[in-house]
């Protein structure tokens, strides 16, 4: 079934002489040589960087886990002192959650999604590369703090007041807050990239109902990131403001509330678990179909289940706070919601079972790992239902029972599918197979090691052992259980070691394959392996969910260039933009090739965070300005007026090179970015309301807020500026030059007037953010809005400059549309901010 390497070489050789189109295609997609490869932005390169980095952090986090287990092997062990132990478990959790699990799944998405959807690349390749460099530098910064003895030590959940200045004096916590904020940028960037990619660059005919489950899973996950990460970012920023400048958000002695952190953290933290699990579940659906040798049963059910999990996961966060003394009614609601999430997950499990039962399963290493996943994950899900029950949670919360549960769902739900994915998709990258024999060893060592280590922990917890203790007395009845757990952990590690040996071995002596070794049905297996940067000689037209199964002739047709974009006439990288629902071709998108810009921008962004960690705030501001200039320069290169209007996309289909307005991929990208921003703003507004509910009797008011005039003036200025901006956009579309200038300058003047009028008013008011949670949250909400007005003004200036140099014309008005979108968004958030601050509580 698989073609041998010499056979492929013969076939490729017989293909010569290359057609001129192919020569141009190869040239456009050529990877830079030598060190220049670091400037490559193509998804096949960046995706691999992310996966390799994520795996390296998996190993580092695993080493920390082994140190933890070694300390706990016998009672009252003195091997590791308490200070180091507290850093170890904090960094183990932090590394595994932030530096391994989320990024590596996004890495797989970056690497696989374009190919799986029949695209040549993602729509914003430079942004993916920027995200990767932020992740790498931020990850090294956070993890490296262990080696200077300044690693975070307040737990990966960083609850204040333990993480507040009085109880955490060093820079440990600052490294966590700022370093991880930096890393989170990469996840947010990747999420926006994945949504736009999945919605816009699917192959013609790959309509939304034919989209592979992994793409669905990544799409849902990316939306979850958009709504889950900003609350954490907001919480990070607020805690850092409290630590660095004394602003009150979480300090109960000054009318803040430490539970506010827990709400924001778990509003992120619980969806986070599903952000890790859903892509893995998507992988499982792909692998199960391939190895059951039939289409996934209940495809639509599984899609609905994924979406349902995405929604429900935002309604569960309080189940991490059952013991904090929350009212009984809320407890019941969150208990019910926590159980409800088991239903869509059950649908997926039974869809996999039904597919296996209805197919002819082929127990190769990837499926073996899926079986391991089934056992471990179902067990973890069942204990999850148990702890959703409030009284039971009161007993086992923060005990080793929870340690067992969370590792069952995370290692079962994510690591086993990940290893299945490695064994399944490795040939795409290397063109060689991992060993089946070693694969079985890896599986059994990991599976047995895992269960030997974590199954006893359920009992350890029920016998009363709390989490996060560096040792325990000998007479508690926990000794044997801990000994077994530690031995199991070594066995698990041995499995990972054999895997690494297999990977190294397979690069030299793995069985070479050329084409679709598993006889899979989806587009990721359409092209010959290993992947070439352009992936497909021509972008396929597809007719079903499993094109490789459904269209027997497809590989040959694609290789012969009989489908789309078999040429790169301008020697530029191109991919197709298709309709979000029907996947009808709409545009030929020219995408950037290798550039150093992402790396440089990431390095300078990291300098900003380093300066802030070192409390050099003036320097940080200067660096922030430099970053802003770089991003403006970056944007300046985009969305140029194309040399020709339309090009031949292949087979005589003429498509435009430029799509303006709401059809443009950049408009969608900005829209998603604003969703992120709105969620962050919403978190700040939530803070304002939440602190009021915590201290309704001690809620002061500032005298100037009693007067309504500033609010009315502010609202009028915002609305007037938005109206003027809308007028400018319309005038430009109608090619009325003077109307455009009149509108945009009026908007600009109103915006400036808003700032000049309101900022001094707030500055002079009797508001002291270090005094009371009210003052701090008013400043947070208003400060955030003022910052947005400044950005809106900057964008208006940018649009004016683009008009002057001719990059923005009546027909090519993406920049202006984006500016207007941002402007109206700023007006909207401003209205909410002003109404909340001036009118609430009534």
């Amino acid at each position: 079934m698989s073609e041998s390497r010499p056979a492929m070489e013969r076939r490729l050789a017989s293909h010569t002489p290359l057609s001129e189109g192919e020569v141009r295609l190869r040239k456009a997609w050529a990877r830079p040589a030598g060190i220049g490869i670091l400037s490559e932005v193509n998804n096949t390169v960046v995706g691999r960087y992310i996966i390799v980095t994520g795996f390296a952090f998996f190993l580092l986090g695993g080493i920390l886990a082994l140190l933890i287990r070694t300390q706990l092997i016998v009672p009252e062990n003195t091997l590791i002192d308490v200070e180091l132990f507290n850093q170890l478990f904090t960094m183990h959790g932090t590394t595994m959650m932030f530096l391994f699990a989320v990024p590596i799944m996004l890495g797989f998405a970056v690497y696989l999604i374009p190919q799986m959807l029949g695209s040549r690349d993602l729509p914003f390749p430079r942004l993916s590369a920027y995200g990767f460099w932020c992740y790498l530098i931020g990850g090294l910064l956070v993890f490296g703090s262990l080696f200077i003895g300044a690693a975070p030590d307040s737990g990966w959940f960083m609850y204040p007041p333990l993480s507040s200045l009085p109880y955490s004096r060093g820079i440990n916590t600052d490294i966590w807050l700022l370093g991880l904020s930096f890393v989170e940028i990469s996840s947010l960037v990747a999420a926006v990239e994945m949504i736009v990619g999945i919605l816009k660059v699917r192959a013609p005919g790959l309509s939304i109902n034919r989209m592979p489950i992994f793409a669905w899973a990544v799409l849902v996950t990316a939306f979850m990131i958009v709504f889950a990460f900003p609350p954490l970012l907001a919480a990070d920023i607020m805690l850092e403001l409290e630590r660095a400048f004394g602003w009150v958000f979480f300090d109960a002695t000054r009318n803040g509330d430490p539970l506010l952190w827990q709400h924001l953290f778990w509003f992120f933290g619980h969806p986070e678990v599903y952000i890790i699990f859903l892509p893995a579940a998507g992988m499982v659906s792909m692998i199960v179909a391939t190895f059951a040798r039939r289409p996934l049963m209940g495809h639509t059910w599984v899609v609905m289940a994924l979406i349902a999990v995405g929604f429900i996961s935002f309604g569960l966060w309080v189940h991490h706070m059952f013991a904090t003394g929350i009212p009984r009614l809320s407890l019941s609601f969150f208990s019910a919601a926590s159980m409800a999430v088991a239903i869509p997950t059950g649908v997926q499990v039974f869809a996999w079972l039904a597919t296996l039962l209805g197919g002819r399963p082929w127990l190769k290493p990837p499926l073996l790992f899926i079986y391991g996943f089934l056992f471990i994950f179902v067990l973890g899900g069942l204990t999850g239902v148990m702890i959703a029950l409030v009284p039971f949670d009161w007993q086992v919360h923060d005990s080793y029972f929870i340690v067992a549960h969370l590792h069952y769902v995370l290692i079962g739900g994510m690591v086993f599918p990940l290893f299945a994915a490695f064994y399944y998709w490795m040939p795409l990258s290397s063109g060689r197979m991992l060993s089946e024999r070693l694969g079985r060893w890896v599986f059994w060592l990991m599976f047995l090691g895992f269960n030997i280590s974590f199954l006893p922990m359920h009992l350890t917890g029920l016998l009363g052992m709390p989490r996060r203790v560096y040792t325990y007395p000998a007479e508690m009845g926990w000794n044997t259980l801990n000994l077994i757990s530690t031995l199991g952990a070594y066995l698990l590690a041995a499995g990972v070691l054999v895997f690494i040996i297999d990977v190294i071995r397979h690069h030299r002596s793995g069985e070479p394959v050329v084409h679709n070794p598993w006889n899979a049905g989806t587009l990721d297996w359409l092209a010959p392996v290993p992947f070439q940067p352009w992936t497909f000689f021509s972008v396929p037209q597809v007719h079903g969910r499993y094109p490789v199964w459904d269209q027997a002739e497809l590989p040959g047709e694609v290789d012969r260039g009989e489908h789309f974009l078999a040429d790169a006439p301008a020697e530029q990288r191109e991919t197709l933009i298709t309709d979000m629902v029907s996947a009808k071709p709409l545009q030929v998108l020219r995408i950037p090739g290798p550039t150093w810009l992402p790396l440089i921008a990431a390095v300078i962004t990291s300098a900003f965070f380093l300066a802030a960690i070192a409390h050099l705030y003036a320097l940080a501001l200067v660096i922030a300005a430099v970053v802003l200039v770089i991003f403006i320069g970056w944007a300046w290169m985009n969305a140029r007026v194309p040399p020709v209007d339309q090009v031949d996309a292949g087979n005589g289909v003429m498509l435009p090179l430029y799509l303006g307005g709401v059809h443009s991929h950049s408009w969608l990208g900005l829209f998603l970015g604003l969703l992120v921003d709105a969620t962050l703003f919403g978190s700040l507004l939530f803070t304002y309301f939440y602190l009021w509910t915590a201290w309704p009797d001690a809620w002061p008011s500032a005298p100037f807020l009693e007067a309504r005039l500033p609010m009315v003036v502010g609202l009028v200025l915002l609305l007037a500026s938005s109206a003027a901006m809308a007028y400018a956009k319309r005038a430009n579309q109608r090619a009325q030059r003077s109307g455009f200038w009149l509108g945009i300058i009026t908007a600009f003047v109103f915006g400036v007037a808003f700032l000049i009028y309101l900022i001094p008013l707030f500055a002079r008011a009797d508001l002291d953010p270090t005094r009371h949670g009210f003052d701090a949250s008013v400043w947070a909400v208003m400060g955030y809005h003022f910052f947005h007005v400044c950005i809106a003004l900057l964008l208006a200036g940018y649009s004016m400059a683009r008009v002057v140099v001719g990059h923005l014309t009546p027909r090519h008005d993406t920049d202006l549309r984006n500016t207007a979108l941002f402007w109206h968004y700023t007006t909207g958030t401003g209205i909410l901010a002003l109404l909340a601050v001036f009118l609430f509580p009534f």
């Binding site: 307040s154 509330d257 049963m297 059950g346 079972l353 599976f447 199954l455 009992l459």
Partner: protein, 342 residues
Amino acid sequence: MHNGWQARTSNRALGRAAALVIAMLSTGCGSLEGIQSALQPQGISAQSIATVWWIMFWGACAILLLVMVLAIYALRRPKPSRLGHPYLIIGGGLVFPIVTLTALLTYGLSIGHEFHGGAAAPAPLRIEVIGKRWWWEVRYRNGPSATPIVSANEIHLPVGVPVEFAVSTSDVIHSLWIPSLAGKIDMVPGKVNRVRIQADTPGVYRGQCAEYCGTQHTWMAFYVVAHTPDEFEAWLANEQRHARVPSEAFLQRGRNAFVDAGCGACHRIRGVEQAFGALGPDLTHVGSRRSLGAGTIDNHVGTLAGWIADSHAIKPGNLMPPFAAFDGETLRALAAYLESLQ
């Protein structure tokens, strides 16, 4: 596949080994007993939670078994099974969980709550526990207006009646957990959380801080002594008394050392004028307690001396400074004096 048969047998053998190991692990790991075990309940709340646990445990075993039997059956049959049908998805993934989860939730919501959040009638005895880094202040109050009796690191309570616990913290978040008696309740800055706990069997149990609270979270434990009502009244009456004034010269020397070294700046001993501090545990009856350093070591004259001289060797990072300057005899006298505070 040339090694298909071999692979299958090794799979089968390893699969059996796995099943065996897991069965051993889940049954033979040791006893369910212990002074901190939730599975050896000594109070009504822990009892109902243990009951629900065993119900859920057997239910979960059955469901896991069902799933794995289906999954393994899929590998062992010659042709596609009729079970591989969308009905399986609807039945197993939708109907079955909705029915079982509804039943479980209804049952779960009906238990345990009477002890969290407080019931209508006031409990006769109220115990206030204040979490500190890394020890517990315990105050006993008979009725809302009575002056509290302050103690530390040990909780005494009568069996057979619900006791109201009012828990708070003076620094970071802690969590009070006595697995043998009840679930845990957090101590959150700016809040007082209430919970009712009832012990049913006289005995000594252990509790521990369950919310990570910094360096010495590990050794922030305590003993709970459940007395018969009469014993409890006697204990409380003794606890209420001021510290005994020593008559023996050796003990007086210890008392003087306590005063001269300024121990009283942090520790209170009722009846000793110079011992008024509130930073460390109240020592009025320290000699009667079972442990030192909040459950870190047993309490006797030797460990008392060791603790005073260098508590950091015993509980690294705790907030009491080491007092290495005492000569041996003075240290022994001081330890003996503290031990005499019964």
